[in-house]
Amino acid sequence: MKRTSLYDFHRKNAKLIDFAGYDMPIWYTSMTEEHMAVRNRAGMFDVSHMGRVNVLGPDASKFVEHMFPSDIANQSDGKCVYTLMLKADAGIIDDLIVLKMTDSHYLLVINAANHEKDLDHIRKHASNLDVDIDDVTESTTMIAVQGPSAIDALQPLTTTPLAAVKRFTHVSSEINGCRAILARTGYTGEDGFEVILHDTGAENPRKALAIWDRLGSAARPCGLGARDTLRLEAGLPLYGSDLDETTNPIEADLRWVISKTKGSYVGSSSLLNRTLPPRRIRRGITLDSGIPRRGFKVLDGSGRDLGSVTSGTFSPVLKKGIAMAYVPPDSSQVGEEVEVVVREVPLAARITKFPFYDSSTYGWKRTNRNTI
């Protein structure tokens, strides 16, 4: 089993699970409390298990142009782009964030469960180009600090004015004397940063543990359980549950990541040929009672099989069961009444827009800044 630099803290304080081959915290004290800490104040997550891969060299911009459906090479240095890695038939290999460092340097942050598969794909497409692929996952640490007070929690550890870093951009700086990349991104729907710490991994955890310890005075340690309920409430898909190689970006409701102006890239011809509406589309579903789980059937009012739940949970904010599912476009209107079959009992549910929570009260767009 692999361990992150923060394993020593997790072992003493968390319930551990095997996640993509890593010993990771599922929760420290209570998933609900950790979830609400992020919605109302600040939480911190060890996300070091995610893959971090540098693409370096004269052809690095050519590489990202060829690999991804989004406009990345023409962005300014310091931009972060959420994008997809596609097969030739536009099936999704992975979803990821690409950090543009310079025209000749990009950093890809990929899912832990897809690490080896992605590296194979990346190396295959890099083989004809003048680029080096440098996997720095094990020599770095990644910590997400998330929530309306995330900046307050992180600011004492750095001289970089964090409020000046725009959403989906990053800066290189120092955190507690450790070289770091600070990206204003996250997977919770909230404001916050994902911090990549250089030169500290499981082999030399001292700097990472010191930073985690200092952050702990203002942010609550949160496990992967809360990370999952937070991303679900925010309507963010999880690879392996809501996305896989049989889903394409249109079905996944990720059309917005596809550039309207880009030329050829892996999967482009397949996407261009797709003029018909998709067969199915990813939607949110809310239940009045009961908790939807992965694999549960979704029916329309007359009992027609619409599809099945790809991920579901109990929403700590709404105090209701929420889910993602793929349904036919003619049953995908927000407000549409459907049913979710929970252990043989069909329960009333309705199609709901993402995010599930009220964006004026929760999430990074919130206008009501009063924290509880």
Binding site: I26, S30, M31, T32, G225, G290, I291, T313, R343
Partner: protein, 118 residues
């Protein structure tokens, strides 16, 4: 569980409550339902998982804890007191009692389960 005369208030153990983490939902039968020793009578759900609830005795369910609909977290906070789940009118208390673990035996079981996980 807590037995008063011929009635038992049934819930989960402290170990089960801790292992489940936050209980957020329960599915329970209506009053009047017969329950059988070691048979499932409902489910308890945490954020991550669904678990069956097993009855330690045979009998007729007289009521479920009315507080749990709005406060399922009582199962975590107070599994032996305010977090009780159903009340059962017992049929075969004396003979069925012999089939159950004593608190000391349960403690041993939990200890061995905990060791398996380390």
């Amino acid at each position: 569980m807590k037995i008063t005369g011929n009635t038992a208030k049934i819930g989960v153990t402290d170990y089960a409550a801790k292992t489940l983490n936050d209980v957020v939902y329960l599915t329970l039968p209506p009053a009047g339902q017969e329950v059988k020793q070691f048979d499932s009578f409902g489910t308890v759900e945490s954020i991550k998982a669904v678990s069956e609830l097993y009855s330690p005795f045979t009998g007729t369910m007289t009521r479920s804890n009315p507080e749990l609909a709005n406060h399922p977290e009582l199962v975590n906070i107070s599994p032996y007191e305010s977090g009780w789940i159903i009340e059962v009118s017992l049929k075969r208390l004396d003979e069925e009692k012999k089939n159950l673990l004593t608190p000391a035996q349960y403690k041993e079981l939990v200890k061995s389960l905990a060791q398996e996980h380390h």
